[in-house]
């Protein structure tokens, strides 16, 4: 029996954590390099940079304001929709009511955006909060890519799209389509880069991070690229007035998204706190739901679950024992593992009944319902046991066995005991993942 080896020695999963952190840092390095080159180019050849000061400074102010009013959403990332939309519009502007910007190279745009973003973010740094350079770099590079494609790359039979835009005669809807497409490419650059940043933070797979990013960001992304194109188009008749006017819908969106993010955070806090009802009542050991949830999330990430699944998994893990609050007499140390299978199933179904009455997605209640179902029914009776339930089952067993102890001996014994039930009680894939997660956690140190 070499469970200790499996638990602590061999790391079988991809050890991507370290490599990804490097990649995320490269995003920042590239952004800094671009900003420096842009600044040098601007000094060498300022173009209409100074004569168009009103237009340029309007963009700069709004980019900075957007950066200042960035706001946190779930997973600890920050959004700054106004910065992105204004930046894209800046990159796509050819004429702003009698002010000709067709000779404005990507350099000045890059330089002004970088300075404006830094100015907007500095108050955050002054208040001791993180500057969030990685996310800023992703936004900045999206603006850069857009400017490069539109103003520099000779994509239209040897001419830049900027020249095409400036010399277009007649109805301008084809130009509008063009601008919207370029803005969308810029936005997908942003989504890709922020997926890279997010994946490096959470040691998850890059593919899953990108899918999550697209799923949660595509709607807003389309709105942002549309707004960017809108401002660039409306500036021709409206001048800088187009900026505040066309940002109105976006301000509304930003407001709604802020509210949404706040209620999401509140919701998570509420579930976490109320999951402690069982330990307050002496039904489960202190911190059991929190620890199981944390372990489940780590295993879920390791198995490459989607962001939505991870959220459901976390809530299912937090509430998996909530049915115990209705028990008259607590079971010993609250460990469901030690309870008779019939009791385990009753607690699971009591918990699921409670979860069903909450506003959580139905998947959470289903996951809680099946947490006691042994894995063998999947093979023997061809029953469907949701992946989330299998993960909760393994994480719950591990925590019941270890009991919050960090002693090496207890951890080894727990993994060994779980290995005894491998394939019969527990899903081998989940157990393998648990072993990987534990190995990673304990080589990093507590």
């Amino acid at each position: 029996m070499n469970a200790p080896d499996i638990a602590l020695g061999v790391v079988r999963g991809p050890a991507h954590g370290v490599r990804r952190r490097l990649t995320a840092r490269w995003v920042v390095h590239v952004a800094v390099a671009v900003a420096v080159i842009g600044t040098i180019n601007t000094i060498r050849n300022p173009g209409p940079f100074l004569s168009a000061w009103l237009v340029v400074s309007s963009f700069a102010v709004l980019i900075g304001v957007g950066e200042y009013f960035r706001f946190p959403v779930e997973d600890g990332r920050q959004l700054a929709p106004m910065t992105l939309a204004t930046g894209l519009a800046f990159a796509l502007t050819s004429v702003s009511w009698q002010v000709d910007l067709t000779h404005l190279a990507p350099g000045p745009i890059v330089m002004v955006s970088a300075i404006a973003m830094l100015c907007g973010a500095l108050p955050h740094a002054a208040r001791g909060r993180s500057l969030r350079v990685e996310e800023m770099a992703a936004r900045f590079l999206a603006i850069f890519v857009t400017a490069l494609l539109f103003r520099w790359a000779p994509l239209w039979s040897g001419r830049t799209l900027l020249e095409v835009d400036a010399t277009w005669v007649g109805s301008r809807w084809p130009v509008a389509v063009l601008l919207a497409v370029i803005a969308a490419i810029g936005l997908f650059t942003f989504l890709g880069l922020s997926a890279l940043v997010m994946a490096s933070r959470s040691a998850g797979s890059l593919r899953q991070a990108f899918l999550d990013e697209v799923r949660s960001g595509a709607g807003l992304g389309l709105a942002l690229s549309a707004t960017g194109a809108l401002i660039a188009l409306a500036e021709r008749p409206l001048g800088v007035l187009a900026l505040p006017l066309f940002l109105v819908p976006l301000v509304l969106t930003q407001f709604a998204l802020r509210q949404y993010a706040a209620i999401r955070a509140t919701y998570a806090q509420t579930v976490r706190v109320l999951s402690r009802l069982t330990e307050m009542g002496g039904f489960t050991r202190a911190g059991h739901p929190d620890r199981v949830a944390e372990l489940c999330v780590a295993v879920g990430r390791d198995l490459g679950l989607s962001g939505r699944d991870i959220r459901n998994l976390e809530n299912a893990a937090l509430l998996h024992d909530i049915g115990q609050v209705a028990l008259r007499a607590p079971i010993p140390a609250g460990a469901t593992l030690m309870a008779a299978p019939a009791d385990q199933r009753r607690i699971a179904s009591d918990s699921a009944d409670i979860v069903r009455k909450t506003g959580l997605p139905p998947e959470v209640a289903i996951a809680v319902e099946h947490q006691a179902t042994p894995y063998r029914v999947v093979r023997e009776q061809r029953q469907q046991v949701p992946m989330l339930s299998r993960i909760v089952k393994v994480a719950n067993a591990y925590d019941d066995l270890v009991g919050g102890s960090i002693a090496l001996r207890r951890r080894e014994a727990a993994v060994e005991r779980i290995h005894l039930g491998l394939g019969y009680e527990y899903d081998p894939r989940v157990v393998d993942s648990l072993v990987r997660v534990l190995a990673r956690r304990h080589t990093k140190g507590p």
Partner: protein, 466 residues
């Protein structure tokens, strides 16, 4: 955007029919007037595109999110007043309403179509009368655009909204006899701001369509961010509802151990909100009060495990346990950011007006108002639900008991508001549980318990008052 006429055949059917006929006549007259003043629409391509667009939003309205599509069709209707002129707008609105699938009966549809034609003509005419140019290509420069197009357009959208509200208020008045004025004002306050928002976005739509020369494709660019904004609001609202449901469900789960306590937190929250409204609390304060009320006993639900358990002897004395439960609750909830305004109210919900409560023996108005409200609601709910060995009091008897405690145990102002609230709302006595076995024999919220803990030794029982 289109007013929904509830034209069901009934005793008022004839009056409703008369109104529909009158509306039709007015619609024809106004559209003819617009024709005489402005002529026929010249831009048939735009007219066709706008018609298809509006039809599209009406199809979406049936299938997906109602509010999003309402906003979209409102914006397109307003923009059409300028883009295709009064007659074009009237035609467009009437046609789209008539072509809408799955709508109400033909009379309602006829009324709505007539109203659409009136709105389109009136909107377009107002714009022209306010000095707006029919041909936007003659305008150049941001200043001129804002003054000569923006001003008249906003006036037109204001008139458009007022006529729209008035028409809905009128048909409701005729159909169900509700006051025209109150209906009109209610619509003005609830959706007036949204209508002006449609006006601003409609203007952007117009500017993008003609002066920026983008044409019909503007619809995509304008409506996309709007759909996303609305989508975010819908998400937010759904998530907030889910959050409240989750909170209530988890609190209710904690109550199941004591069959007599089931629903207690929810009832106290409901009553507290009514009391808060009676005391004139603002929305933010009411929200904090509601959360405090639903969670006020969360510390108790934990403490109860020891107090009610047969197998485990309480290792603390009961009174100590009771005295500690507000603090236990606060400690548990202190991590939740949005509850920061509610924590104090939870901590002090067992203080007494005379300063003999717990945990801090605060006196009178030193006790947070929300705590005083919860204390009244808590006592009242305790009296109106039974315990093993004591019947639930009917609400008038419970009110007497509560009133007898004003000035000693409870805040007299809040008690007075309770009396007023109970005049307007009937308060159902909590249903006794089917089997109350295993329930604790006492209730820490019972006013008698408050006296006991305050060291007041009076023979009065809850049922008798003092």
């Amino acid at each position: 955007m289109s007013p929904q006429a509830a034209a069901d055949p009934g005793p008022r059917a004839r009056r409703v029919n008369a109104v529909i006929l009158a509306t039709l006549v007015v619609a024809v007259l106004i559209t003819t007037l617009a024709w005489a003043l402005d002529g026929v629409p010249h831009d048939y391509v735009s007219l066709a595109v706008l018609t298809v667009l509006t039809l599209g939003t009406r199809v979406v309205r049936v299938r997906v999110v109602e509010r999003v599509a309402v906003a979209a069709s409102g914006i397109v209707s307003l923009a059409s007043c300028v883009l295709v002129g009064p007659v074009g707008s009237a035609l467009m609105m009437a046609t789209t309403i008539l072509l809408e699938r799955g709508a109400a009966g033909w009379r309602a549809r006829l009324f709505n179509a007539s109203m659409g034609a009136i709105l389109g003509s009136v909107g377009g005419l107002t714009y022209l009368l306010a000095g707006g140019p029919a041909d936007l290509t003659t305008i150049s420069g941001p200043g001129e655009l804002m003054v000569r197009v923006g001003g008249p357009f906003l006036v037109a959208s204001l008139v458009f909204s007022l006529v729209n509200f008035a028409s809905i208020a009128m048909i409701v008045r005729v159909d169900s006899g509700e006051s025209f004025q109150s209906m009109f004002l209610a619509m003005l306050t609830t959706s007036g701001l949204a209508q002006m928002g449609y006006g601003v976005i409609g203007l952007l739509f117009v500017i993008l369509w003609v002066p920026a020369q983008v044409g019909p494709f503007s619809a995509v660019l304008i409506l996309l961010p709007l759909f996303v904004a609305q989508w975010a609001f819908v998400q937010y609202a759904e998530e907030e509802r889910a959050h409240e449901r989750t909170l209530a469900a988890l609190v209710a789960a904690g109550e199941t151990r004591d069959p007599y306590a089931v629903g207690h937190s929810e009832r106290v929250a409901r009553l507290s909100v009514l009391l808060g409204e009676g005391l004139g609390l603002g929305p933010a304060q009411t929200e904090a009060l509601q959360y405090a009320a639903i969670l006020h006993d969360i510390g108790w639900l934990g403490a109860q495990a020891w107090a009610g358990s047969d197998t485990k002897a309480p290792d603390k004395s009961l009174s100590e346990l009771i005295a500690r439960h507000p603090a236990v609750g606060v400690a548990l909830l202190s991590d939740i950011a949005f509850l920061q305004d509610s924590l104090d109210s939870i901590k002090h919900h067992h203080e007494r007006w005379d300063g003999r409560g717990y945990p801090d023996q605060l006196v009178g108005t030193d006790i947070p108002l929300a705590s005083r409200i919860i204390a009244v609601a808590d006592s009242f709910d305790s009296l109106t639900r039974g315990r093993p060995g004591r019947q639930a009091l009917p609400s008038n008897r419970a009110l007497q008991v509560v009133e007898s405690r004003a000035g000693t145990h409870l805040d007299p102002t809040v008690v007075a508001v309770l009396a007023r609230v109970l005049e307007r709302h009937t308060w159902a006595v909590a249903e006794p549980p089917p089997e109350g076995a295993g329930a604790p024999l006492w209730d820490h919220d019972d006013p008698v318990m408050s006296d006991m803990l305050a060291g007041i030794d009076r023979p009065a029982t809850a049922g008798q008052g003092s």
